[in-house]
């Protein structure tokens, strides 16, 4: 599949441009309060929209995914680290599915 390499290059080029342009071009401060605020909320809106409801179909069973989601939210509210939350959710899914098989 040589097409795969073109896909990878397109992805990498777009992503790198997004990362590099502000760092290299913006030397001053963005003044528009709306754009500043908009950009501030972007990560939360994007990651939330990508997480839910997709997370409910991320494992073999709806129930294990739902419990994994709730546990991840609980751990995150408690301020646990990235690694702890990600691995905690995986572990819970694994254990729940032991009972579902």
């Amino acid at each position: 599949m040589p097409k795969v390499y073109i896909y990878i290059l397109v992805m990498a080029a777009v992503t790198y441009l997004i990362r590099a342009l502000p760092l290299t071009l913006i030397r001053g401060e963005i003044r528009s309060p709306f754009i500043r605020s908009f950009l501030y909320y972007v990560p939360y809106a994007t990651l939330a929209a990508m997480t839910f409801p997709a997370i409910l179909g991320a494992t073999d069973y709806f129930l294990s995914a739902l419990i994994g989601f709730l546990v991840a939210v609980f751990l995150a509210v408690r301020g646990k680290s990235l690694l702890f939350v990600a691995c905690g959710a995986c572990a819970v899914v694994f254990v729940v599915e032991l009972f579902l098989h």
Binding site: I8, V14, P33, Y40, Y44, A58, A72, L82, V85, A86
Partner: protein, 241 residues
């Protein structure tokens, strides 16, 4: 200058140390990515190359679905642009932590490693950002990200199905760990998070809208939610960073 070189070396080591938790978290998530990439028809080499050249969690998972579905290159480009648009903000914020002494080459190097996690760690340093601190963070993190992908792609097949199923939730666990703690401290952020989740659930079932690709739905929801929040709750200087 000798003293400057020593400084840089210490910053680099500090970056390696502070990047270790990111490295381990990335390994778990990219392990799942490697498995999915091979299941989708990519080779181990292609999966590793994809991770090394992109270093984006969400962007890669979404991009993989475009590759598997045989979508157009334009769709891929727009999808990456929107999903990774948040790096524009992070890159902008990091640009404010550099001085004119930081040349273009160093800026291009720092840009390679602008991710949610590396940004989060590097933007919290006191005062000016030393590029070598970023290099340390980036090196160890990318090692975990690419290494996890290659391991997942190569060894994922020997894992039992139950383990693969469990790893499927790793990426989302990481997202939750990023968005939930700020949401417990700021009401507008909480509403942005809930708004994103509710709208994307509605969009997944609404007639016509559910026919759109995942990427397009996320684009529309992000623009709607972030615009509404920005209009209702403009962010004051000190809340950012």
């Amino acid at each position: 200058m000798v003293s400057n070189a020593m400084d840089n070396r210490q910053w680099f080591k500090k970056g390696l140390r502070n990047g270790l938790p990111i490295c381990m978290g990335y390994f778990a998530v990219s392990f799942a990515f490697g498995i999915q990439a091979v299941e989708g028809g990519l080779t181990v080499f292609q999966a590793g190359m994809l991770s090394l050249m992109n270093v984006t969690s969400a962007g890669q998972f979404a991009g993989l679905s475009v590759i598997i579905a045989g979508g157009s290159y334009v769709e891929m480009a727009v999808l990456q642009l929107i999903i990774n648009l948040r790096y524009l903000l992070m890159s902008t914020a990091l640009s404010q932590k550099l001085t004119s002494r930081t040349g273009t080459a160093a800026r291009l190097g720092i840009a390679y490693g602008v991710t949610d996690e590396i940004f989060g760690v590097s933007v919290l340093t006191e005062g000016e950002l030393n590029p070598f601190y970023s290099y340390g963070l980036i090196l160890i993190s990318v090692l975990g990200w690419t290494g996890g992908t290659v391991f997942g792609a190569a060894a994922g097949a020997i894992l039992p199905e139950s383990a693969i199923s469990a790893l499927g939730i790793a990426l989302y666990g990481m997202f939750i760990a990023i968005i939930i703690p700020p949401a417990t401290k700021s009401r507008p952020v909480l509403i942005a998070v809930l708004g994103g989740m509710i709208l994307s659930t509605a969009a997944a079932y609404a007639p016509l809208i559910r026919e759109l690709s995942d990427g397009m739905r996320i684009i529309i929801i992000t623009v709607l939610v972030a615009s509404a929040c920005a209009l209702i709750w403009p962010v004051k200087e000190k809340e950012e960073a």
